[in-house]
């Protein structure tokens, strides 16, 4: 092993010439002036996971925005909590124009359900990209041929019928409850199975686990074209949507849909807002975007800044009416409370922990290293490093924080400065280049820009 050590040191020395060049490259790529907007990568926060419809749209917008603004636009999937996570992150990010959010209809819903205090007023709407109407789907083998058949069946069914499309309280759930109320059918005649995501719900529909599903048309397009499911009606006021029957055709005065749009934190400076709005408007009217939307099956409904603001207010009020109605709250009766599972697990952990303790298996293994004072001091490097990074990087930026901490840790482990300094100067910019520049993964930005 002595050999490998000697091999390593000259290797480092011959890197010394190259690292200077590399360093200059890195700095010239990362450093730029703050007075022109935009001058560094923009984060586009997508509150839904990679692979879904919203993510696809986000990546298309990012791709085109990149060419309009001449800076990288990185999509960040801040997923979870029915959209709470992503929207919260978008609203709380610095209003400097380097973080924008692809908001979805959940922004109008989450606060009515008491999941967050966040609502549309916390954002500056920039532009509406798309609106997709809800639609009702049944299995191909299903006896229901029209929406009236289904309504009759729901009315007369001795047990509640099963339906899904999204989680409990999601937009498609609201659409179904609203439709039932509109048609004077008791919402308790339908049990909503809370399945996250339309894809899983449609799979459940095909497997025969539910009687009908509600989601948007593009989400169901593949299964529909495959002849596995049938559309009974699109909840739209227009007479035809891609050849499918609509609620208006059936004489049902009910429409509801989801929307997707770009929003920014509330206090974005007006000149940056205009720069973004102009770029987005250009994108929305480009042939490439139209082509993308048509191919993906998304409805195109562009609305600019002022129009979008008004629309948001209307939708918020409409959805609030449904979500706070007695019919809707009555339809939400959980069979097993949220603490059912944690209680079982807690009990299990307690029993197993006790069993381990009694049988003596909870003791430190005989082969483990003994922790003397010196070892504990060395160990302290880990929490110090990670905590230091988490606390310093938002202000100092990635390159400075990582360099400082890496150098500190190397010196603390008694690496000679002759080795520690080149290692730091080489790896940190290389990691920065790799993640931020080549792979488009964002790293913390500091006040000096990198």
């Amino acid at each position: 092993m002595q050999n490998s050590h000697r091999e390593f040191v000259p290797l480092l020395h011959c890197w010394r010439g190259t690292f200077l060049i590399l360093l200059i490259l890195c700095i010239s790529a990362g450093c730029s002036r703050e007075d022109v907007y935009p001058s560094r990568p923009i984060e586009l926060i997508c509150p839904w996971p990679a692979g879904g419809g919203t993510d696809r749209l986000a990546r298309q917008v990012a791709h085109q925005l990149e060419r309009e603004l001449h800076v990288p636009v990185n999509v960040i999937n801040a997923v979870g909590g029915n959209g709470v996570t992503g929207h919260t992150r978008g609203a709380l990010s610095d209003p400097h124009g380097y973080a924008i959010t692809l908001a979805t209809v959940e922004l109008n819903m989450l606060h009515w359900r008491g999941l967050t205090s966040l609502n549309a007023d916390d954002f500056l709407p920039l532009c509406l990209l798309n609106r997709d109407a809800a639609a009702i789907f049944v299995r191909e083998e299903s006896p229901y041929k029209t929406i009236q058949d289904l309504e009759d069946a729901i009315r007369n069914s001795p047990v509640p019928m099963k339906s899904s499309g999204t989680s409990q309280g999601g937009v498609w759930h609201a659409a179904v409850v609203g439709w039932l109320v509109e048609q004077k059918i008791s919402p308790s005649q339908v049990t909503w199975i809370s399945i996250a995501g339309s894809t899983a719900s449609l799979q459940e529909l095909v497997a025969g686990g539910i009687d009908f599903a509600c989601c948007s048309v593009p989400e169901a397009a593949a299964l529909h074209d495959a002849g596995k499911i049938r559309c009974l009606g699109v909840m739209s006021e227009s007479p035809h949507i891609s050849g499918l029957p609509t609620f208006r055709d059936a004489g049902i005065p009910w429409s509801l849909g989801g929307w997707r749009g770009i929003v920014a934190p509330k206090s974005l400076p007006p000149e940056r807002r205009d720069r973004l709005c102009d770029a987005l408007e250009k994108i929305c009217h480009s042939d490439e975007f139209a082509d993308f939307m048509d191919r993906a099956g998304f409805d195109r409904s562009y609305a600019g800044f002022s129009e979008f603001t008004g629309m948001l207010k209307d939708w918020d009020r409409d959805l609030g009416e449904i979500l706070t109605s007695d019919a809707f709250t009555a339809a939400q009766q959980p069979r097993f409370g949220p603490m059912f599972f944690p209680k079982i697990l807690g009990g299990g952990l307690l029993i197993l922990g006790l069993a381990l303790f009694v049988t003596g298996q909870f003791k430190t293994a005989s082969g483990a290293v003994s922790l003397n004072a010196a070892a504990i001091l060395r160990l302290a490097i880990v929490p110090a490093w990670v905590a230091g990074y988490a606390l310093l990087s938002p202000t100092l930026g990635f390159v400075l924080t990582a360099s400082l901490l890496l150098l500190g840790a190397l010196l603390a482990l008694r690496v000679s400065p002759r080795t520690a300094v080149p290692v730091t100067l080489l790896t940190v910019p290389a990691v920065y280049q790799l993640f931020a520049v080549i792979l488009h993964v964002s790293l913390p930005w500091g006040w000096i820009g990198w």
Binding site: M1, S4, G80, A390, L406
Partner: protein
């Protein structure tokens, strides 16, 4: 069919640009997969904007190839640093790292590489022969069947545990408990968030995994580090390593590939079993590659007769570890092709990667569905061929990656450890771009260190975190569909069968534990060989 196949050939194998793209994507996939925190899904998602300029076949070629390579490359940091590069590697971290510490790193990675290549080819063949029929079975799975499948998946680490089943169960419950944090799909209120909005999405299992395995290993290495300045002493040793005289190719053949091929050939039954398990689990939407790894490790035979009769350096433990790696790598690679089955046939994504693929297909005006086999037959055959091409490409690229990864072991430990911390931090941050995840990684790293010292296995924690949420969701969905009655879990025939299998697995596990206990109490009956 023949015309379509010929056209597919001219679209794929006969085009030099397809070869170039497969090669480039293989390098890129290997690279991304080897970086902890960047998953195969991330590799594909980051690549999506590039597909706009590509034709369908080259675009799919790139995706197929980068995913196959990323899943294998996840093994490299697993072996060298004990940080699983992708969640699919988490099932056999201990096995790989144990071998690496004994100086068998090239043997372990060679086995993983060979098994991945063959597994990928098996998957491609299954996709080719039975894709259409298998997809029909996949659509029969409702929430009740998934509940049992997830429960079976969760049982695997307990069934597989060669050490203490009690400790494995404890670790699994810790993982399940962690999975209850946040706002789930079936509840309208968030749990255990303690006022942090970041916890609404739950504890991310990628940062947790990096912490549990990577950071905790850094901790124990630091504790073990001798106080001498710049003391060389890499954690992972090579037996000989390629020397200038022998050349890399001959070294790769004699040390990495030949023993693996030999082992593979001697275990044909196991290989078929893992390939089938992988394809079957992969084709079920939402089950995916990670579970395939776990199930096949659980099915991997213990106490198998030694394969390398003339190689006395391998202990029984090494043999078992190599077999587990071989089975798991075969299964997860064949699951990759399995995921494409429901995606192509019905447009239901088998996993997050194929969800992106469907998006790309739609963008190229190709509608997935049964019609694709008639309307776009050359494309479908092209995809099959691409799977074969990509897996063949994996072999040289994988060998190269193992070779390059080997340089890590030459870095003195006190230089390497801080660098690993840097990579852990960046990896944890990269997945969601959130500093909160960095804190999660730190806490999980310390938990992992403490658990490690008490010999509580870490893999089951990750599995519990991955499957805990879906398990609870499926349970509540099934029960609420059955109006609150537990009968809903076994109402459907398929669900009843799966439930029976799960129950049998548990009876077997308990009875074999009982027998083992009795043997330990009467050590004269056996050789008294400790597990």
């Amino acid at each position: 069919m023949q015309e379509s196949l010929l056209e597919a050939l001219s679209l794929t194998i006969c085009r030099y640009d397809v070869w170039l793209i497969v090669l480039a994507a293989a390098i890129y996939g290997t690279f991304v997969g080897a970086i902890p925190g960047l998953t195969a899904t991330m590799a594909v998602a980051l690549f999506v904007p590039m597909t706009y300029w590509l034709e369908p076949i080259p675009a799919l070629a790139a995706i197929v190839s980068m995913v196959a390579c990323a899943i294998f490359a996840g093994d490299i940091p697993t072996a060298l640093l004990r940080i699983p590069g992708t969640p699919a590697s988490a099932a056999y971290v201990e096995q790989t790292y144990r071998l690496a510490q004994k100086g068998l790193v090239d043997r372990a990675l060679g086995m993983g590489l060979w098994a991945s290549v063959i597994g990928g080819l098996i998957g491609a063949v299954v996709l080719m022969i039975a894709g259409d029929q298998l997809a029909r079975i996949a659509t029969m799975f409702s929430v009740a069947e998934y509940f049992w499948l997830y429960l079976l998946g969760l049982s695997c680490p307990i069934l597989v545990s060669s050490d203490s089943r009690l400790r494995a169960a404890f670790a699994l419950l810790v993982g399940l408990a962690l999975s209850t944090v946040g706002l789930g799909a079936v509840h309208s209120e968030a749990r255990f968030t303690f006022g942090f909005p970041q916890l609404y999405q739950g504890i991310g299992f990628i940062p947790a995994m990096i912490g549990l395995f990577g950071l905790s290993e850094v901790c124990s290495s630091l504790a073990r580090l001798r106080a001498e300045p710049e003391g060389p002493g890499p954690s992972v040793q090579r037996t000989a390593g390629p020397s200038r005289r022998r050349g890399f190719l001959s070294y790769a053949w004699t040390e990495m590939l030949a023993p693996s091929i030999h082992r593979y050939w001697r275990r044909k039954g196991a290989l078929l079993r893992s390939g089938t398990v992988g394809s079957a689990i992969g084709m079920l939407p939402g089950a995916g590659v990670d579970i395939a790894s776990w199930v096949s490790v659980a099915l991997s035979d213990k106490n198998a007769p030694p394969i390398d009769d003339n190689d006395s350096t391998l202990t029984a433990q090494d043999e078992e570890d190599l077999n587990a790696i071989s089975d798991a790598s075969t299964a997860n690679s064949s699951a990759l092709a399995g995921c494409w089955i429901p995606s192509l046939v019905f447009g239901i994504p088998g996993d997050s990667v194929t969800a992106i693929v469907i998006g790309v297909l739609l963008m190229k005006n190709i509608e997935p569905g049964p019609a694709i086999f008639e309307k776009q037959a050359p494309l479908v055959y092209g995809i099959y061929l691409l799977f074969i091409l990509a897996n063949l490409m994996l072999l040289p690229i994988g060998l190269l990656a193992i070779r390059l990864g080997g340089y890590i072991v030459h870095i003195p430990k006190n230089v390497l450890l801080p660098l690993i911390i840097l990579f852990c931090v960046v990896g944890a941050y990269a997945i969601n771009g959130s500093l909160f995840d960095v804190w999660v990684m730190l806490v999980m790293g310390l938990v992992g260190f403490l658990f490690d010292r008490r010999r509580i296995p870490l893999g089951p924690i990750v599995l519990g975190m991955i499957l805990g949420g879906p398990l609870e969701e499926r349970f509540i969905q099934t029960i609420s569909g059955a109006n609150g009655s537990l009968v809903g879990l076994i109402e459907r025939p398929a669900a009843a069968v799966l439930g029976g299998i799960t129950l049998l697995a548990w009876v077997w596990a308990l009875s074999s534990a009982f027998i083992r206990n009795r043997r330990q109490n009467h050590p004269t009956q056996t050789g008294g060989e400790p597990a």
